[in-house]
Every structure is written in C-alpha cells, then in structure tokens.
C-alpha cells in the first residue's frame, strides 16, 4: 500500500511540476511580449546590434543544413509522387504535389525543426551557462533587465530569420522536385514551372510563412525559458538543452496540427 502511495505521490509531484513549469513558461513569454509592446512607449531601447548579431548567428548556423535537407525532402517527395502518378500517366502532377506540400507543410516544418535543433538548443545552452555563472544575476544587480537584454533580441532575430530560411527551404525543396522531374521523368522544365505556378497559390505560401513565424516564437521562447531555468552546474545546462529541443519539436508539431485543422480542414 505504501508503495502505491509512493508511486501516486511521485506522479502527482511530476504532474504538479509540469504545470508549474508550463505556467512559468507562459509567464516568461508574456514578459518578453510585454517588453516588446511597451518598448515604444517607454524609454527602453531595443538592442538592435544584438538582434543583428543573433540573426547572423541563426542564419549562418542553419543555412547549410536547411538547404541540404530541404533539397532532399523535395527529391524524396518527387520520387514518391512519381511512383504513384506514373501509373495513371499523370507524372506532370508531381509538380502540384511537391509544390503544395513543400510550401504548405514541409518547408516551414522541417526548417523549424532543424533550427530548433541547431539554434534553439544553442540559445538554451548559452543562457543556461550565463545563469550558472551568475552572469544573469550580475545583469540584474546592474539594473539591466535580462528580458530586454537577452530574451528580446533572440526572439526578434528568430522571428525574422526563420521565415526567411523557410522561403529558402521552399525554393530549394521545389528545386529538388524540378531536378527529379526533369532528369528522370523527362518533363520539360518550362512545363513543370507552369504546372507549379498554377498549383501553388499565394495563400499556401503565405500561410506557410505565418506558420513559420509561429514556430519561431515557439523555438525562441522554449530556448530562452530552458536557459533561464537551469539549476545546478554544467549538468543542468546539458539537461535543459536536450529538453529544449524535444519540447520545441513537440510544440511545433502540436501547433502545426491546430493550424492545419483551422485553415485547411474544409478542403
């Protein structure tokens, strides 16, 4: 019986701890957005220089991997689609399938997941190391708000750079499809291009971008939260870094489900 209480109590504590951290996560994100909303009214300065530095860091870190992976994804999609469509002699529709699924879905999703692994974790690790080294305490004692000084530039940079990377991923992914169609299916480039241009609506492209903006908020806020809440030493930093990637990917996919249900369920 005691064993049962122990196990239940353990679960209870875990559940309680989970809701507590969810609450703290939203509190922290709210503080960041409040800061951004009130910045123009008060004499708070946005650290544009830091925003720029972070943008370059996120961009440079993720560019190669985003290009390579989205090219492969385009290629894979084209191959899979061709296998099915070939049977009906409808190979040209590979362009529709690749174009629409990349711009609507896979471009934003894959980019966000890659950036979360590459940069969300880096944010968590950097801020966590600062927390452990009392650097964040030092900021507070100097009357410098860690939200404005650390969280805001990272959030802004992420929200700008992730959609940019997504545009790139869309283009490269479609490029992968083109390459396969032109070389293997012997569809002329001009025909493929015309077909794609007809298939991809501006709405698909734009909702993809909006989605990637939402993903950017998720990735940055999770990284920042996990960094700020690090306890203990280097071990704590490692733990938070891992958690930041796993929970960001979970939330990205969750948000994607909601988004898709909201915008496309009627089609």
């Amino acid at each position: 019986m005691n064993k049962v209480y122990e196990v239940l109590g353990g679960w209870g504590r875990q559940l309680f701890g989970f809701f507590k951290s969810v609450r703290q996560f939203f509190l922290l994100s709210w503080q960041t957005f409040k800061w951004l909303l009130t910045a123009p009214l008060s004499r708070k300065k946005i650290e544009w220089h830091d925003v720029f530095v972070q943008m370059v860091r996120i961009g440079v870190d993720s560019l190669p991997i985003v290009i390579v992976i989205s090219f492969f994804i385009g290629l894979i999609l084209a191959m899979q689609a061709a296998y099915q469509l070939h049977q009906f002699g409808a190979s040209i529709y590979v362009a529709n399938l690749v174009g629409v699924s990349i711009t609507r879905e896979l471009g934003p999703l894959i980019t966000a997941i890659l950036v979360s692994g590459r940069c969300g974790s880096a944010i968590a690790a950097e801020l966590g190391t600062m927390k452990v080294g009392e650097e964040i305490d030092a900021l507070k004692t100097m009357s410098i708000d860690p939200i404005g000084f650390l969280a805001v530039p990272r959030t802004l940079a992420m929200v700008v750079v992730l959609p940019c990377l997504t545009i790139l991923a869309d283009l490269v992914g479609i490029g992968g499809g083109v390459l396969f169609a032109v070389t293997q299916l012997e569809i002329p480039f001009s025909a493929y291009f015309r077909q794609s241009a007809e298939a991809i609506l501006a709405k698909d492209f734009l909702t993809g971008l909006i989605k990637s903006g939402v993903f950017a908020v998720i990735v940055s806020q999770i990284g920042i939260y996990q960094g700020f809440q690090v306890r203990g030493g280097a071990e704590g930093v490692g733990k938070s870094t891992t958690i930041s990637v796993v929970s960001a990917i979970f939330l990205i996919i969750l948000a994607d489900v909601l988004f898709t249900a909201l915008f496309y369920s009627t089609f």
Binding site: M130, E134, E135, K140
Partner: protein
Amino acid sequence: MNSKKPVIEIKDVYTRFGDRQVLRGINLNIYPEETFVILGRSGCGKSTLLRHLIGLQKPESGDIHIKGVDIIHADDEKKRQTLLKVGMLFQNGALFNSMTVGDNVALPLKQHTPLELSTIRIMGRIKLDLVGLAEFEHHYPSQLSGGMKKRAALARALAMDPEILFCDEPSAGLDPVVAVGIDQLILKLKSAFKMCIVVVTHELESVFTIADRIALMDGGRIVFLGNKEEMKKSDNPIVRQFIDRKPDQDIIDTEQYFNTLINE
C-alpha cells in the same frame, strides 16, 4: 558615526534552503562611509546574505532597507533606481564571458548613461587602470587568470560610481601583493568617494587593515559585532578561534559522532 541614518538596515532575516536553516535572525545596521567586514566560516551564509541585500533572492522572512527603500517588497522600477547606486563584486566574478573586459566594464555605462561611446571607453579604462588591468581591455574573461577576473569584476562593480559597494571575497585567490593592492584600493575608494563598502573576506590581515566595524557570523546569527580593537580583545570563543586560527574542537561525544556517520 551612529548618529547618521543607516544606509543598510537588516532586520530579523531568516532564510532556509529546503529544510536547512541558513540564516536565523540577522540584525545589522550599516552606516554611510563605513567599511564593514562580514566574517564567517565557509558555508555560513555570507554570500546568501549579500544576495538578499541586492534583491536577487528573497529571504524567508525579515526586512531589508537599502537607503530607506524596502528592497524585498519594492516594485521593479524602485528596485532598479536603488540598485543603480549599488555595485556588487560576485564571489566568482560573474563576468560576461561573451564580452571583452572593456565591454564588461562599459556595459552598465552604455545601458544607463547617455554618454558618447568614446567617453564611456575612457571611463571604463580609468576603472580598469584602478585595478591594474589597463592593458587587458581587449581580452576576454577566459583569457584572464582567476585573480585578474576578480579585479576586472571589481572594475565593473565600480563602473557606475556606486554609493554602496558589496565585495564577496575580493582578495580570495590573489597573491599577497595584489591582495594588499585591493585593500589599498578599498581604502582609497572610501576616502576619495566616501563609499559605503561591505566586504566578505577570510583574510584577517586585510580585515584589520580596512575594517571600521566587523561582524562575525556563526550558525546563522551574528555572534560578534564591533571594531578591530574590540575584536582583538574579545574573549568570545568563536572570535578567538578565528583570530588564533584554531581548528575545530575534537569530537568529544564519540557516540554522537558514530550516529552522524551511520545516518548518512
């Protein structure tokens, strides 16, 4: 000196971590322009007390006023205003590792003053010169020795010309020459800028050089409070143990010792 209003008032401060009670009722008044030294065994809660004083951590109960402001309950803006006049040297330095030493010192000035960048650079250099690190402006903290980090952190704590300076073990891990230099610097800050300086230290020599008043903490309380002469003459056993550098008494109660061993 006691005729003045205290700049730091600490009343009945209690703190616990989990079920370990660290502070059990600290009462202290620290006055303007005095150099106040806090002594105590390692782990007795000195750093924790300093963290309370700069509002980083709320005590379990008690009141703390810095320049008349209730630092525990003040709103963010009030706290910000108060802390602008306070400098803190953390025990481990807490320099920003991603910035050069020069940028570390310049940061508070960049954030809180409308000065030109060139002026800020010069002011930062003056502070670095004060701690003997003028030629290390462009080094990163990871390129400095432990003692140099301490001094760089001291320069950063001084950047805003604080009225109150907290130093957590400023000369721990420094060679004796530099340690004496830090003592001299503290004396200079006191005479030239009329700063109120609160120092946590273990170095008895430096205590007797710089201290106006000394508090000795033990078991979460202040067990001795007085000036150098009073401390030297005191027959309080804990004070004597500190001054005469005696090790802990041998375990008398063997049974109790055995019990502490077997209960983890």
